[in-house]
Point group: C2
Chain length 122, copies 2
């Protein structure tokens, strides 16, 4: 259950992009990037907030999950890519997926963090 959790918090993203406010555009990006990374989607859910127009989206993966939150009013986005490494090492796939998502938002700055999960578990 040893896993790798990557986060990237983006600021100064390209403004006016539909990815920040259109759940369908964000869903398309996420599912395309998951497939290209070699990870396996098993479910997805995207929600648009009526007030500020931000979107929250998650893709459930056979390997764990992807989560995206957009704040169009702040030109900000946060990304989570979490993969377990049970059965095979998904590190490269997680990094590929994260890189594709970060690039799509064209941020001016990125705060990245790396968590090693479940080290004590198995």
């Amino acid at each position: 259950m040893n896993g790798l959790h990557l986060t990237a918090d983006l600021s100064g993203c390209r403004s006016g992009d539909s990815l920040h406010t259109d759940p369908e555009a964000l869903r398309h990006l996420c599912l395309k990037a998951v497939a290209a990374s070699g990870l396996q989607a098993v479910g997805q859910l995207f929600h648009r907030f009526p007030a500020a127009g931000g979107v929250t989206g998650v893709v459930l993966l056979a390997e764990s999950h992807l989560a995206v939150h957009t704040w169009p009013e702040l030109a900000a986005v946060t990304l989570d890519v979490y993969v377990c490494n049970l059965g095979r090492d998904n590190t490269a796939a997680a990094e590929t997926l994260m890189a594709a998502l970060v690039a799509a938002f064209e941020p001016a700055a990125v705060q990245r963090q790396v968590l090693h999960r479940g080290q004590a578990v198995g």
Copy 2:
């Protein structure tokens, strides 16, 4: 967009509990714990894996998200509670929610991590 992301990776959880394998039982726990914490659910999705019988669940929150993965074959569970603190400080609610979920699984050991998100953003 300043946020707090709590993770807890549980091992030695009470075996044979339906929370590990029944999406409906896990959904009920999660939604009840979210409501009790004062956070606001805006969507949810739970998926059961046919092979090992584990469950992945997410609750989309007005404040960000909750994610749960179970590995019944390892008696292991990972939990994520991520809240943005835009508008109000949701730290106490996030801690309350995480505490309720950890307690429900009765783990022998817990690996906890705390991430401060989006510090550079606003």
